[in-house]
């Protein structure tokens, strides 16, 4: 059971949160092709490394926030707000 740092409440056990999956996934608009819409619905990257994802502190303050988590070690490399872009070093996939 991981420990996540909610931006509002501080470090709490993983059981207080619910995971919302990959974050920063751009949603194609109504004019998108079937292929790109299908990829948005069903395809996600599954990196062995840093994964950007969103979590909600559902049994606490209810806030959504983003984290960068290493999928092998579960090390949480960054915690940032829902509307913020990922920290620059995360985008290269290099923690």
């Amino acid at each position: 059971m991981m420990q996540l740092r909610c931006p509002c409440c501080g470090p709490r056990d993983e059981s207080e949160f619910v995971c919302g999956g990959t974050t920063h996934v751009p949603r194609p608009d109504l004019n998108s092709s079937d292929v790109s819409w299908g990829e948005y619905l069903f395809f996600r990257d599954n990196p062995k490394g840093v994964h950007l994802e969103r979590w909600r502190h559902i049994y606490g303050c209810g806030s959504w926030f983003n984290i960068a988590r290493h999928t092998v070690t579960h090390e949480v490399l960054a915690v940032y707000g829902m509307s913020e872009p990922p920290p620059a070093q995360m985008l290269n996939g290099v923690p």
Binding site: T23, P28, D34, M82
Partner: protein, 969 residues
Amino acid sequence: MSHRLPAPAGTWIDRAQPLTFSFNGRAYSGFRGDTLASALLAQDVRLIGRSFKLHRPRGVWSCGVEEPHAIVDVGAGARRTPNVRATLLPLSAGLSATSVNCWPGVGFDVGALTGAFATLLPAGFYYKTFKWPSWRVFEPAIRRMAGLGTAPDRPDPDHYEEVSAAPEVLVVGGGIAGLAAAVAAARAGAQTWLLSGGMHLGGGLGWRADAEVARLEAAARAAGVRILPRTLAFGVYDHNLVCALESVSAEGQRDLPACVLRERLWKIRARSIVSAAGAFERPLVFPDNDRPGVMLAGAALKYALAYGVACGRRAVVAAASDSAYAVAGALRAAGTEIVAIVDRRATVGAAVESGGVRVMRSTAVTAVFGRRAVRGCRVQALAGGTPGRSERLECDLILNAGGFAPAVHLHSQAGGRLRWLDAEAMFVPHGTAAGVVSVGACAGVFNREVACAHASAVGEALARGQALPQPPAGGGEGTQVFVPLANVRGKQFIDLQNDVSAQDVALAARENYRSVEHLKRYTTTGMGTDQGKTSNVNALLLLGEYTGRAPPQVGTTRFRPPFAPVTLGAIAGRRAGSLYRPLKQLPAHEWHAAHGALFETYGDWRRPAAYPQRGESIESAALREAGIVRERAGLFDGSPLGKLELYGPDAAQFLDLMYVGTMSTLAVGQARYGVLLSEHGTLVDDGIVARLGEQHYWVNTSTAGAERTAAAFEEWLQCELVHLKVLVTPVTSCWGNVTVAGPRAWQWLESIGLEAALAPARMKHMTMRTSTLDGVPLRVLRASFSGELGYELNVPATEAARLFARVFARSAEIGAVLYGIEALQVLRIEKGYLHIGTDTDGTTLPADVGLARGIERKPAAFVGRRSLSRPAALDAQRLQLVGLQPVDGRAPLHVGGHIAPHAPPAPIDGRVTSSCVSPALGHPIALALLTRGSQRIGERVRVYHLGTETVAHVVKTPFFDAEGRRMRG
């Protein structure tokens, strides 16, 4: 023969407190402080159990958590605990234990017959044998033979706690190294905890260095270390979480209260973890090395010094490690005759003394005499691998001193790597793992002074947040690795509990199971309750021999928690019984119960299914209630219906983005039915949305969807539509819902005092008004799921029961009735109203159920819109919701019945989703999803269910009052 030694031996027992206990029905005696194993050994009980596969007689092997043989069932009835290790079970007055895996008894066990077929039962026999005519013929018998103890057949009367803690430094292991680390950390200012699996501190040396242990323990307490005895850390998890199991009330105690606290599960997340878990002694491998009387050398010494029990009178020590000599000397001083130290090595370390004991070098044990107890052994000199002169030694105890295997479990679970030390034949931690630092024997450091100094330095460095000291070079016990002998008779066991022998490992290698993970699963070595603590290293060394690889190339199997068995009760904690799945109750639950409600579980709620009268069935009650609602009026509790309040200047725009319909065009006071889709375009929830103000909406969801829909709205607002100013507040439990439906509904409500402005002539269908009744605020929604004139009175939940009573007080003069969920289902099916999740599934789109009108005209890009133009969404062959009417008008259709052109096997054309007998129409009706259903109105279809066939007409819905006059009037 084993027996009790006189004082000063037995520092852990209290000879002033004798106890009686029973084992396999016979009475024995021991002392407080004994374990079951030590007490049985003291009474010369050598036969404790039977091995898993071959049912060979087995006795006590060790003195701790690594015990593979002495597994017993303790207690009876609801407090029966299976598979308890006798080496850890504290003796208590009246304790009753029995052997496992034997019938009728451990002395005479019918299962021992399998031993005669041992050659047919090698590793993996079940992959190759018992196949003709079918595995199923043999499976029941083989499954009955599997397993060891017998589980209790009654609910556990005791309870279990779960506690979380977050000290700064956590030390796992109460040996000398662990104590030293804890003392240093605490003195440097860190909040320090220490977990000790056993009752006594001191670990591997405790009962040989009592004074030093006592000094360290006193220092630890003085420094403020919190020490938890009988608390075994069984795993380390993500982010430094250590889980440990504290035994509060040991098994087998008599005269306990009806319910006691049995165990406490600790979830400890420390900033730093010190693993001081010690090391396990490794046995040698020789024929029949499983006989009762073959033990680990260190264990025999511990029994002698700590428990005052001599495990035998005449011992042979089979050695491949320098440690054997000190142990032999100490045993001799405690009163056990050492016949010989049979050392497989040619030379021993310079500092080793034999103390007058006969030492045989380059010699191995090649046979053990005695089946139920060791009577003697044969030893043979090996010179260059050729067996030479042999000699028979009379003994009743054979002790293994083959070296040590550091307990690297915590380090490995935390992701740490291992390295192999050739000179000491052991795997030790390589560096540190995330948050876990190893000290003492588990780091491969066996020199007491060196280990203490290192542990203290580690404790202080962790407390101060400084760099860790360099770990000292490990080892020092001078061990050598030896393969099992060839050309000897008898099974040479590797894994004692699962009866895995050297021949089995050879078989695995021959059949190309070269990976150590394959070896484990193919032979089951290391898969018993002891998890291979004294056998895993021997197994991988042997596999390396057979496949020409060095131990580091073979590697170890993956270390996974738990380190030792954990009871399910401890994991469940308080989440058992009624707390396993807490159900929600209506705010007026007691009132309904007092008025004859028959409650059933619907989702997370306890709700009245019906209010049966005069012994009628639920089905009859539902039909009666539904009929009265259609004729006169009925009262229903709709409180579980989801309720949300939305506020904000952008609330209207937000709802247009969420719903298929358009909610921004609602006038204040107006309400509209809406459906919610997932991004796949499929229906996920429905409900009525009412506008209470310019920026204020009241949103009803389905009962099951209340939390889900609120969460979905919240996710959209916080994650995607971050610029919209909307507040969503779930208020489901704040408001009770008193629903009145039927032709006389308004007459009824008028009679209890509802204001005239709410009359049907003045308040249209699908509108919502605020009102009060004797000062109690109401939000009144005129809507209908029954198809009759309907009013939903939303009242503060605390007032719900009072309002129900007030309304129901007038029921007799109205001729009205209480109705439950089952009656509501009948009413809504008659109207063809769908229920999300019953009449729809994860593929159903709005157009499939006739809810797609107006979508093209709506400008907003509501959730799921893009998916409605996918090719699959436009497929002509889609399932569509229709009504069905059995042709014979008698037997109702079964929910789940398949619509097919002919009897199965046949392509499925659709299925029945809802069904009932209609009191309003007098015949059965059903809803179904049918391929191209909307174009097949009037057709006859065949419905198949469990061998029956029913013919039905496809009809349009609603079945009753198609224009909806009764509810709109």
